[in-house]
């Protein structure tokens, strides 16, 4: 119908102003030197050839840390999704609600609460002292950051995996068992391959916030080491170098888009419009 087509127009204008224009501005800034209007690639050159490779180190550190947290989320989360999907529906819906409930509490509060648990006089160290052990330095290191990431992003891994798992017809598994497959074989040959689209969505949903967060490293890592998110935040709010900050943001965006593109190649069933949730 012709008349309904025009209903989208106000939002197209909105998207042009608040989605496209902002990114174009960012791109323009990244292609100019600080305080000049001339076009240049200096920001990107500085990025890749910085003294003692500082920027490259930040990128690789962030990628490695986000990669670890994604793998941990997958290792912890996959069995959760699998076990929950095998429960009777009343129980499984109870566990699913229990799994999302924490995500409804403010993200910063949950992270802050770990500061209380891990701190020098925190509860965990109190237990250690109580049992005659030495208190440990649990807060302000990479382990604490990793813990915070797994804690915050684990539900993002469990949910997509569970939702594809719940759709697998039980008859598939029964057929496999009837034909002589062991329980493990049935899992490995049927369940696992069918859950790959869920795993891919989960990886994207965990890796992306993990690689770009600046809150978790700052609160749980004490801001001692810089990751991409902290670097961008620092460039914009502290050192005021918007051009370099834009260049780093553009690079991070490109990195994530490339990662998503590659991951989507593995996911033959990927249909953007209907498969988001």
């Amino acid at each position: 119908m012709k008349t309904t087509r025009i209903l989208g127009i106000p939002y197209y204008v909105w998207m042009a102003i608040f989605i496209v224009l902002p990114l174009v501005l960012m791109l323009v800034l990244s292609l100019q030197a600080r305080g000049s209007d001339d076009w240049t690639l200096d920001n990107f050159k500085n990025f890749f050839a910085s003294e003692n490779g500082m920027y490259m180190r930040i990128i690789s550190d962030s990628t490695v840390l986000a990669g670890y947290s994604t793998v941990l989320c997958l290792l912890i989360g996959y069995p959760v999704a699998y076990f929950v999907s095998k429960l009777p529906s009343r129980q499984s819906s109870f566990f699913l609600i229990m799994l999302v409930l924490p995500t409804w509490l403010n993200f910063l509060l949950r992270t802050y609460s770990w500061m209380n648990l891990l701190g020098k006089n925190g509860l965990i160290n109190k237990f250690l002292v109580f049992f005659g052990l030495k208190p440990m330095n649990l807060l302000y290191n990479n382990g604490a950051i990793l813990l915070g990431m797994v804690y915050n992003f684990l539900p993002f891994m469990v949910y997509p995996i569970y939702s594809v798992m719940a759709k697998i017809k039980p008859t598939f598994l029964e057929a496999a068992r009837d034909l002589g497959a062991s329980e493990f074989q049935a899992f490995w040959k049927i369940t696992f391959p069918l859950t790959i689209p869920g795993i891919i969505t989960g990886i994207m949903m965990v890796f992306m916030p993990a690689v770009s967060t600046f809150v978790i490293p700052e609160l749980l890592g004490g801001g001692q080491r810089m990751y991409i998110g902290n670097l961008i935040q620092h460039q914009f709010l502290q050192s005021g170098d918007w051009n370099m900050g834009s260049a780093v943001s553009i690079l991070m965006m490109a990195m994530i888009l490339v990662a998503m593109f590659i991951l989507n190649k593995f996911d033959a069933t990927g249909d953007k419009e209907d498969a988001l949730w």
Binding site: Y11, I19, L25, W104, T111, Y151, S212, K272
Partner: protein, 260 residues
């Protein structure tokens, strides 16, 4: 035996997820100001909470922004989804619009937040509630569109034609046929928008100013100097509210199933 181990595993993960929340809740009843020493049971932080100017203002802005962003983005999102759906004869334009719409979903929050900040600062807008609200609407609408569109795709397109053949005006057909069909998608979109807005930190952080802060920003700025126990009390109340809402929603859907 295997079943028991599996359940044990799920419970262990739940303990991991709930331990920090439980600690917050327990310390909200602590008479001592420290989050590390137990000084006996007290409700004083709950009383103090409601007289704390800073927290109350943050709570006010958080709720106002979430409600306004949800209402506006649900309306814009639904209308635009209907408009986009009608573009089926122009698949290229539709795909292009959808890809742009998808950008805030796949972009990291920090990129969305900072790029919006750039626009506001180039337009020399005064950073405050309005800029925060605009940025919230910008990242909420895409989720509404993405929850409504699949419902429109599932809808039988002949239904509208039938209604109009029988003399319904387009507006009447929209109200009586389309809206009821896509209702569940609209509700999902609105709920998503509300939860995203109320929990947002990064995008708000870069797009607010002049004394306007939401709860996330307040907690962020307070976390490093140590948060006062009023915040523990607030978070306990928030968990309680969410749990009650979920229980009520579950009871209702349980009743619906039972009555069928």
């Amino acid at each position: 035996m295997v079943k028991k181990l599996q359940n044990l595993y799920i419970y262990l993960v739940l303990v991991f997820l709930y331990a920090p929340i439980l600690v917050l809740a327990v310390y909200s009843f602590n008479a001592s100001k420290s989050n590390r020493v137990w000084g006996g049971f007290s409700l004083k932080w709950y009383v103090a909470l409601f007289s704390d100017r800073e927290i109350m203002s943050a709570l006010y802005y958080t709720l106002m922004c979430a409600i306004a962003a949800t209402v506006v983005s649900t309306i814009i999102g639904t209308i635009s989804a209907i408009g986009m759906h009608a573009l089926n004869d122009f698949p290229r334009i539709k795909a292009f619009a959808l890809n742009i719409n998808y950008l805030p979903v796949i972009n990291p929050d920090i990129v969305t937040g900072i790029s919006l900040m750039l626009v506001f600062s180039f337009a020399s807008a005064r950073m405050g509630f309005v800029t925060m609200l605009i940025s919230h609407i910008t990242f909420c609408v895409p989720y509404v569109v993405l929850s409504v569109l699949p419902k429109l795709n599932q809808m039988d397109k002949h239904l509208i034609e039938a209604a109009m053949d029988l003399g319904a005006s387009p507006m009447f057909a929209l109200r009586k046929i389309v809206l009821p069909e896509i209702y569940s998608g609209i509700v999902t979109g609105a709920l998503l928008a509300f939860t995203l807005s109320i929990d947002d930190f990064v995008i708000s952080f870069f797009n607010t100013g002049s004394g306007v802060s939401n709860l996330s920003i307040f907690i962020y700025s307070a976390a490093r100097r140590g948060i006062s126990p009023e915040v523990n009390a607030l978070s306990t109340l928030m968990v309680l509210c969410v749990s009650i809402l979920l229980v009520v929603a579950n009871l209702r859907s349980g009743k619906e199933i039972a009555s069928k």
